[in-house]
């Protein structure tokens, strides 16, 4: 072997070592949560790092039934998916126009929307409640979805603007020369190019909303309309006054975590790689 080959082999190994260590820690963390959910609370605290002697699946049964995790799961699934699709439908065109359009007040409007990222959400609890009550949307999943969409707009548009504005303009002008309309340029040229960015914000929004609980806590009252993360939240708060069922909590966390991981892997594979292939050529 030539020395340069050795160097590159060493370099390569070092990269795997760094990335591998970080990734293994993530795996370790997820496994720890799953193992914790199979222990008794007592053993969880007495020996947090050992394998469970007798795996207890009762934690899952208890959590699933007494906390209606089945219902919550469906609610979360619907609300989050509808929200993410709506967020994209609303934000992608707006971000496109804001970054590639040419009109007066463009910059100001873009800043106006970006500034929404600076609003601390707890301040909106009371006014939003009043608005939703006036519109008779309080305690409805529709109302929650609308709020999710509206509050995700600044972040989404801000990120997407960046993706659109960094796209090459030659393709755009070429398409216009070819006789494409504005809309066709957007739909068939720019949209595919921005696909990695769109997939990224879709995933980030999905995960953010899947774990969101503060707004749903304020806007949802009926137990049958709760979301999964609200279910987790009520498990956590039950620790005070009603018994510290930590193993049960981890069972709940696992129930929320597993589909998210599955969806994340499916989404990131399909959306990022799939669309990138079609787009960037």
């Amino acid at each position: 072997m030539r020395s340069s080959q050795i160097v590159s082999f060493l370099k390569r190994s070092a990269s795997y070592l760094v990335v591998g260590f970080w990734s293994i820690f993530s795996v370790f963390f997820v496994l720890w949560i799953i193992l914790a959910s199979l222990k008794k609370t007592r053993d969880l605290f007495g020996s947090p790092w050992s394998l469970p002697d007798n795996p207890v699946f009762g934690n899952y049964v208890k959590t699933w039934i007494s906390n209606r995790f089945g219902d919550y799961f469906l609610n979360s699934f619907i609300v989050v998916n509808v929200s993410v699709v709506s967020i994209l439908l609303v934000s992608v065109p707006a971000a496109y126009v804001l970054s590639r359009g040419n009109f007066r007040g463009q910059r100001a409007l873009s800043n106006f929307i970006a500034s929404g990222m600076g609003v601390p959400f707890p301040l909106l609890f009371v006014p939003l409640f009043v608005i939703m009550a006036t519109l008779r949307l309080i305690d409805t999943l529709t109302g929650l979805t609308i709020v999710y969409v509206a509050l995700s707009i600044p972040f989404t548009i801000y990120v997407l603007e960046g993706f659109f504005s960094s796209l090459p303009s030659e393709l755009e002008s070429a398409a216009i020369m070819d006789g494409c309309t504005d809309f066709e340029v957007f739909r068939w040229v720019m949209l595919p190019l921005a696909a990695p960015g769109i997939a990224t914000v879709a995933i980030l929004n999905f995960i953010g909303l899947w774990n969101e609980y503060q707004l749903s806590l304020v806007l949802i009252n009926s137990p049958e309309k709760r979301t999964l993360s609200l279910g987790i939240y009520s498990l956590i708060t039950s620790m005070q006054y009603s018994g510290g069922d930590w193993a049960g909590l981890f069972a709940g966390v696992t129930i929320v975590m597993v589909p998210t991981i599955a969806l994340f892997i499916a989404l990131s594979e399909k959306m990022i790689s799939g669309i990138t292939m079609g787009g960037v050529k």
Binding site: K40, T41, R42, F45, G46, S66, N67, R68, F125, V126, L128, F129, V130, A133, T134, I138, L217, V218, N221, S222, P223, Y233, S234, T237, S238, M239, Q240, Y241, S242, G243, G244, D245, W246, A247, G248
Partner: protein, 424 residues
């Protein structure tokens, strides 16, 4: 089966008739109740039972419950602003006192409570949050602040329940010799740790001493030697080896779990501890509790008690305040209180109703209480902002050894003066 179908038709008729009668009755009312409990919790199960028993006795009253969970009061803010009607709510008594009650949004229950109701309460409970003799909140769950400990372990280490603070310190040494720790803390829960300070100060100066010390607007209330003594006593607990040296690193609930593991004898905390640890201890764990012991030359009695209550409140703008109050008279009734104990697993404020077995010593303390003050001595309720921003963090710093008792006292003096200068 013709018989059965005709019977069910009859039943249907009866329901319709009932509905018609109900509609004609002037007093028919649906009480909207926003609750601090989550639906699956045992306390919620107990309340549901109590409400349905009440509706059976009083068919004109029905309930619509929203199980909000712990952020009940925050959610109510929105409802109040939006004009959504809520008749009844419950919350932690301290939270209520500093929230809705302080804003005058509670309905005055004084005239609605029957004589039977008023005399049913354990000593001092109903009056604890009364404002100038008016009852705004209605306690229905009772937690006492004591040292909660493992009776079996106490026997094993050869110790006995301490009657004085010095005996407590010597119990620590006995326990240490047996290879165990006497006490444990949660490094990140300042409002538990401050119990050493507030209880000691109240033993020295009598119940309510903490609030009194703060209310001297010059800050000089804290210059009383008793305050320094209480601060030093909190440190003495460490010096006597009561608490393991690594305990400041315990993040809730890691500290209290060491009791369930059998490594620690007990903790100064409220009677919710056995419930919080029930998953870890199993059913056969022998819980005991003793009051914060007496201190030499103290004005306060060892039977004075700090408590943590949960209360109902009828909202001022309720359309059915009298019906709601009548329900509250029922909540303190013997049947309802027994349901709370049996289903909810909690201590209750009614005289003579036995608490769950693990909490028996708490009940004894409550029945013999000579004076009550809220959890942490009452400053939390009366001056939450100061407690949150100054007392708890500064005490915790001192307690965990970052500052000295003298520095702690002088900070309190300065910050109290500052507080009153800006709140004229």
């Amino acid at each position: 089966m013709p018989q059965k179908s005709s019977r069910s038709r009859l039943a249907a008729l009866a329901v319709c008739a009932g509905a018609v009668v109900g509609a004609n009755q002037v007093h028919a009312s649906e009480l909207v109740f926003w609750s601090v409990w989550n639906e699956p919790e045992p306390q919620a199960v107990a309340l549901r039972k109590i409400m349905s028993a009440y509706s059976q006795k009083h068919p004109e009253t029905s309930f619509k419950v929203v199980w909000n969970g712990r952020q009940n009061q925050t959610k109510l803010r929105g409802a109040l602003q939006a004009g959504i009607p809520v008749d009844l709510m419950d919350a932690d008594a301290d939270q209520l006192a500093g929230g809705l009650q302080m804003d005058g949004l509670g309905y005055d229950l004084t005239g609605e409570l029957t004589g039977e109701t008023k005399s049913a309460f354990l000593p001092g409970v109903l009056d604890l949050y009364a404002v100038k003799g008016h009852y705004i909140q209605f306690p229905y769950i009772y937690n006492t602040v004591n040292f909660w400990y493992n009776k079996d372990l106490l026997k094993k280490v050869g110790g006995s329940v301490p009657a004085t603070f010095d005996e407590l310190l010597s119990l620590c040494r006995t326990t240490r010799k047996a290879g165990k720790d006497a006490l444990v803390i949660e490094g990140n829960v300042g409002f538990y740790n401050v119990l050493y300070f507030s209880n000691y100060l109240e033993r020295l100066k009598g119940s309510g001493a903490v609030v009194k010390a703060f209310e001297d607007k010059s800050g000089a209330g804290w210059s009383d030697p008793a305050v320094l003594a209480a601060a030093k006593a909190s440190r003495a607990v460490w010096d006597a080896g009561c608490i393991a040296a690594d305990a400041p690193g315990f993040q809730y609930p890691a500290g209290q779990q060491t009791i369930a593991q059998g490594d620690t004898l007990g903790e100064l905390v409220a009677s919710w501890l056995p419930t919080e640890l029930s998953e870890s201890t199993g059913k056969d764990f022998s819980w005991g509790a003793f009051n914060f012991p007496a201190v030499a030359d103290g004005k306060g009695k060892a039977t004075d008690l700090e408590v943590g209550l949960l209360s109902f409140m009828v909202l001022k703008n309720s359309a059915h305040p009298k019906e709601a109050a009548s329900f509250l008279n029922d909540v303190i009734g013997e049947d309802s209180q027994k349901i709370l104990v049996a289903e909810g697993g909690v201590g209750v404020p009614r005289r003579g109703v036995a608490w769950p077995a693990a909490l028996a010593d708490g009940q004894t303390a409550a029945a013999n209480a000579t004076a009550l003050s809220p959890f942490g001595g009452g400053l939390t309720t009366a001056y939450p902002e100061f407690t949150s921003n100054v007392l708890h963090p500064e005490f915790n710093k001192m307690f965990l050894g970052k500052t000295t008792p003298e520095e702690f006292v002088s900070t309190l003096v300065a910050k109290t003066k500052e507080y009153w200068d800006s709140h004229k």
